[in-house]
Symmetry: C3
Subunit: 644 residues, 3 copies
């Protein structure tokens, strides 16, 4: 279990380092992450590289029993780079070249940047490779956003990428569709930067994602070559649509890492970032993020939430609040003045707990029978084609995930190309883009007897973001047993009626409505008001061994909960436990024991009666009625059990 | 009666065309509009022009009894134009050159564009001239907006335009006013692009409008020369302030065309775009515009609304929803997959009805005794000088128009330079700019015995957007019998009092207040609260044979309705009919019969008792009590009548 | 007493001037301000300078008993300057060069501008120096905002300024902090334009302020050299954060001037702009600013408000509303048409009153025992480091000031470096930045026995905008007797509890909370709910002869009023008088008499019983019960009194 903090020795007097190391050790810290913004400290003037200060910092930390995750640092160059090589800067969508003064303002495809970045990152990797106090590597920081570039040089690189991908311009024209608003190319060099064409928009986004993955791959491969045996990670960022396809980036690293900033980001991302590889580390855990008001206990609670979702470590951002710079008034365990405070005491409490529990947690993992599907390409395609904030697909994914959380149902969140062989229930909300791989994956899942639930606005476009010329949901129409002719927004909610699911009687459809025409599916619920009265809204289709549900709208609250409950019953999936409101139960399973994390998000204590067989994980004493303090966590253990 | 759709054969496989043509024919379509974005399909590489595919499409449609309105297409060039001739692109107000990737991103005054555009448009006109299956021409698409340009070359063209118009720089200085913030020119070449100077702002807007009209005139004249006998139209756009002066553009075409996108645009534009020439065609009728939720019946209802207002045709946008491109997720009768749907059935229903009614409707026209005045120059001048959204003049025009609609009073909407000889009542809300022509036109109307109503903020500026140095309403002060010293916003509503119009007692003045000083007018209503208590708010002045009312504020709802009712009584104007709420009655009058359109906008049926003499227009049976279904239309006829 | 208007003879026909001068004289006008935008009128073509028209205007006004404040005019050049010397234009933060067409769009450090501006301003000063009809000078108009520039040339000038200030780049690195996001310089020429780094951001703002002060100093010194004996003023602008440090600018002029635009600006600025020098003139008094609705009486009331706060004159903006240009529809006493109106009559009423009272008011001044502190650097530092609109320090200053106004307590508002020797109570809300001078100033004040109140988020950063590495409030921690470890926003209000101040029981803390740890201070109030329950929120510390209160949050309304009342009692400060709601009492004190201004902001009359000794200032009759009309002012006098 990696437990620790980000540390920036280059920002503090060396005389302070021993105090910091001793305080960390006292708090149970065993790991620090360092170096992701240290280029200026390694090389304050061009060519004068000096790693000795970092060597001393590592040495000191190691002496206090603390291991290091070392970062590469090239995406945040020092001022001399921008002064001497202005071509490194990237250009925003609006055509403005980013003015230096921030981090990450470089174009990953710019030759000047590539040369300088590979030089410094190679120097860092060569220097620190083989150091026994370094246990793993992080490729830079938050790779995946920020480096988008819309300059003429990147346009030419993009045109080359299109040449490689499409071969002939005729194939590109056919793939994207011809002559809408005279959009048709006689040569690849006529393709412009994206404005708002949906096909070009998606492809350029893919190209930007590709550059980020390639940047990460180059460093990952070099680390594996020069420092074999160390893991490579990088931190996936907060959950917004513009980022790189982390499903693809996970393929080029060993251990997906992430920022974990609740409540700014939904709990979903813990399952989603773990999903890609089945494992995950939190590389930036909120201490007190960007000026929010966090009372006692929440910092520890949120860190345990990540562990409960499968994290193998938690690194708090950051050891001490910066005295200057853009994050000067946020982010840090210690305050500016460096004295102990309540956050330090909270850190130390968790550190002490993990001395007992760390290895035991590491020996377990998350096991789910339900998968939620969400792909970056669907989100990009929708944004490029129909940028309506309320309709964004991930909102529905979050809704389903929150309902599953309230029910304490362990869930994986995956890319729709992911391996579905372990699941009984797969929910794929708003699967806007369906390529051949996705269609085949879902068909195979249903064929094997799986229960699949699709929702409104699925199967709309192909891999090029072109609408299907067969009725929606396109290649999924057969397994869904329904054809859809139109998608409309719902300007106000519409009431539903259902004999099969009485809880849907009177419930409200919101946001949007598919106009559904069942072919082989049976209707489970219909609209009960407005001009849609009597039209189907929820269908079920038996196909081969499985069943496919299609929800032609958006449900919320109790209505959504009823649907999810029905799907779980049909698929035969059980929750971990039933808990009172505001208390969540999570389970990790290992060979020797399984662990139950009970997290109470209420400000007041809660108690609940446990099934037989659970013991306090720390004391080993049997527990029948467990009491959990306000904003607190209890961990229980069971060694005699059967996997569901 | 032109009844049909926009069709884009270049966006679909040729094998699909016969299916489309047959489906259209079955739905009663007799007209399609084609070609406005087809430059890339005609000339995919520079110089390789091929019209044969369009010849085949016309041929096929003609064989199904469908005629063609052919468009010119140069404002949306293909990518090779932007690649090889980057100078065609226009520059936005913020100084950014438009990046290619949209439509209309060209500067109409740029020499490269002029050369390329005249070449392709001439080629199109020469090729299709004389084709018997083509009944008329549309100049490009939505000419009037979008092409504004703020580049240095256009600035020089503008300076030349100023030289032509003003002759000497002294005259320009005097016309615009001298030395405010040191604004004073020693040479035309010092005039800058507009920032926020009101005089410069208005003149630049006029210049942009002038370029749009000139673009249209060149094509209209060429068509008349090469294809005599065919009508020329173009589609006026949605109702925003930035567009070209369509009153001037109407002078260079034969038949004003328009986009009709309710509920996004007010019903007013049907009267206003007809107003310019007394006739009008709807070239883009909403089928399901840009992602809105439209239930059964509304598509047909809105199309009939346009016919009731005098349209000679309705062309739905578009036959089938695009599978790609910027309008991929909106706009189309058929869905992406191309199968029949409820919108197709609605189209076919109307098509069948127009087989009976089309020619009879064409034999009638709209006759109004009331005119609402609104000029582009007033709106531009106000925007350039006092850009307060709540005060924009067209808002008051819409308020008056909606009240007249609710009263079923047939109304023309005209430019204030328009011919007023046919009217009994003229309402000119917020006539901000009054040039000599407008002043003379209104004086003559009143002199002839007309009833004129002016409202707050009228007669403020002259043709150069300079405030009058005589009391407002400037050249109208004499006929209004009132002088105004100040215009203020009303931060909250103020109550009124009136002995003459009891319905105004307690009503509220909103938005703004003129400080009125009657000279010869008598006061009809006064303010009843606040510091304005006792000051006049509504006056009436008898002048020669006529009367002039001046409302010094904004009225809404019942108060406005009371004023309008009073004006109608004074002017002796009758409504078409009285109808229940949500039911509108419109009349078109011909030599053989007059037609009554009853449009029920309620979701439920309504019935009403008719005066004697009306018969069902389809069956010829007399009707005493007419029932109109929810979201439905009834047409009645009367052949024995006298024009009001 | 300077009483008058801005006048722009260059914008009106010379034939009108005699009418204007006669109307002014009739209204009691004794002073006009002229010439701040007159460059184009002096020099319509390069090199052809002609001041004769202005000579004639001065002559005419003088003949009507009206004196002139003459302005320099170089920040608003005529078009030929921008055409021939485009380098004068400044560049906005977003990198766009300002397009000509507005005022003030020049870079004060640009060599072309400096040469042209010094030439015309020197010519103006040389020409008008010594004119007996000119009583003083105004340096340009609204110097302090608008001229910020972010071009490469200004960057180099800024780098030179840094070289001068810091000497070595090492010192700059240490002052600003090193290596955050690789921010560290190996040479001054690597320092970029500001993006969002707090240290760079503050220093660039200081540099911009420095340029504005230098611009003003150059002109002020030249005037003093060429026209000795005349006062130099300039008008400080509306109250926003971006402006120049007027405390520094006041040092280079004789008489601080200001724009006074209630209700857009808070009453605070009257005390704050007077504060710098203890005297002040209103150079732009609202007549009817930018399209607001102002009823009878307010114009005069607001002008008296400024006099009550210590102004030595009031110049209304502007004589007659412009017929053209950007301010065409606002700002003016006479309407466009130039006839007498109610604002003219209001002006004349006040003119008549000041004939009696002007010199007597001039013989008095404002005397305060309470000072409110607010510094530009604190506001800039906070904005550069933590740009949260709700937390901006001046909001709290305004809250305290409004409460003191409601209590009729005379207050000075000062820069925190100001002389505090006259005060009993000093309130320093949100003193974010504390440099050594400020710390010493406050320590000395408390040492002398003063009562000081600090509020949340004070003592956070040093002069370089770097957070202190000792507990907050940093250098004030000792006198406050409290240490603060964290600053958090309050997402919702938190209830308080206090035995000492019962009025705080149940009151609400809002906006933010300091986490307070008293060292020597005693706790006066604590939080009573949420996770902060029991933590201190208000402390009092006795230090040497004085007392320091620290309020760790934001209070509003009755809670703030209770705290202010307590502070006044502790400090022994008395109000001028107690008045009914909406009536304010202000006092000016002279050797011969003291004057009491009673201003009734209610629309209805109010009366109050006065203490003995007051007489009507106009009639000299004793007054016991004074009646003040709605939106009206009464002035009372007392000649037999003792200064408090």
């Amino acid at each position: 279990m990696y437990f620790g903090v980000q540390y920036y020795p280059e920002q503090w007097p060396e005389s302070r380092w021993p105090i910091d190391a001793a305080m960390m050790q006292r708090a149970g810290v065993n790991t620090v992450r360092m170096g992701e913004f240290a280029w200026s400290a390694y090389e304050p003037r061009e060519g004068q590289i000096d790693f000795r200060w970092m060597d001393r910092a590592i040495q000191l930390l190691n002496e206090h029993g603390i291991r290091v995750i070392m970062c590469t640092c090239s995406r945040t160059p020092p001022p001399w780079v921008f002064k001497k090589y202005p071509g490194v800067a990237n250009t925003r969508f609006d055509g403005h070249v980013n003015r230096y003064g921030q981090r990450y303002t470089v174009g990953l495809a710019h030759p000047e940047f590539i040369a300088l970045a590979e030089r410094i990152d190679r120097a860092v990797i060569e220097h620190f490779a083989g150091h026994p106090g370094i246990i793993g590597w992080q490729v830079d920081n938050e790779v995946g956003g920020f480096n988008d570039c819309y300059c003429e040089r990147c346009l030419r690189t993009f045109q080359d990428y299109l040449r490689d991908k499409y071969g002939t311009v005729e194939r590109l024209n056919q793939s994207w569709g011809e002559h809408f608003w005279s959009f048709h190319f006689s040569d690849f060099d006529e393709v412009p930067l994206p404005a708002n064409n949906p096909q070009l928009g998606l492809e350029y986004r893919r190209f930007m994602s590709h550059l980020n993955v390639a940047f990460t791959r180059w460093r990952s491969e070099l680390i594996h070559q020069l420092d074999p045996g160390k893991f490579v990670t990088t931190n996936f960022q907060s959950f917004t649509i513009k980022h790189t396809d982390y499903f693809k980036m996970a393929e080029v690293i060993d251990l997906p890492g992430m920022n974990h900033y609740p409540p700014r980001s939904p709990e979903l991302i813990l399952d989603y970032y773990r999903g890609a590889k089945g494992k995950m580390i939190v590389l930036e855990q909120l201490s007190r993020l960007a000026f929010c008001d966090t009372g006692e206990g929440w910092m520890r609670l949120w860190a345990y939430r990540a562990l409960a979702h499968g994290a193998c470590g938690t690194i708090f951002f950051r050891w001490r609040t910066a005295r200057y710079g853009q994050e000067q008034h946020a982010d840090g365990i210690l305050p500016h003045a460096g004295q102990e405070n309540r956050r330090y005491r909270e850190l130390a409490r968790m550190g002490a707990e993990l001395k007992t529990m760390g290895e035991r947690i590491d020996a377990t993992h998350v096991e789910a029978r339900v998968a939620l599907l969400m792909g970056y390409e669907s989100r990009w395609a929708m944004e490029a084609g129909l940028d309506l904030p309320d309709m964004q697909g991930h909102l529905d994914v979050i809704r389903f995930h929150e309902d599953l959380l309230r029910k304490n149902v362990t869930t994986d969140a995956l890319d729709p190309h992911g391996d579905l062989s372990h699941y009984q229930l797969v929910i794929a909300p708003r699967l806007w883009l369906v390529d051949e791989g996705i269609a085949a994956n879902l068909r195979a899942f249903v064929e094997r007897g799986g229960v699949l639930c699709l929702t409104a606005a699925s199967g709309v476009v192909d891999e090029f973001n072109k609408s299907f010329d067969t009725p929606r949901p396109g290649p999924l129409a057969e397994i869904a047993g329904v054809e859809i002719s139109d998608l409309s927004p719902l300007e106000k909610p519409v009431r539903l009626s259902s004999a099969v699911l009485p809880a849907l009687e009177g419930a409200q459809a919101t946001v949007m409505a598919d106009e559904m025409h069942p072919t082989t599916a049976k209707v489970l619920a219909r609209y009960a008001s407005g001009w849609r009265k009597g039209l189907p809204v929820l269908t079920e289709n038996r196909w081969h061994g499985g069943r496919v549900f299609y929800l032609g709208t958006v449900l919320e609250g109790a209505a959504l909960s009823a649907l999810v409950g029905y799907l779980l019953r049909v698929a035969g999936v059980q929750p971990v436990l039933e808990t009172p409101p505001g208390v969540r139960a999570y389970q990790r399973v290992g060979e020797a024991e399984r662990l139950l994390f009970l997290i109470n998000e209420n400000e007041e204590p809660r108690s609940l009666v446990l099934p037989e067989g659970w013991r306090d994980a720390f004391t080993g004493m049997p527990v029948e009625v467990v009491e959990i303090g306000g904003v607190d966590v209890r961990i229980l253990s069971q060694s005699d059990f059967q996997v569901q």
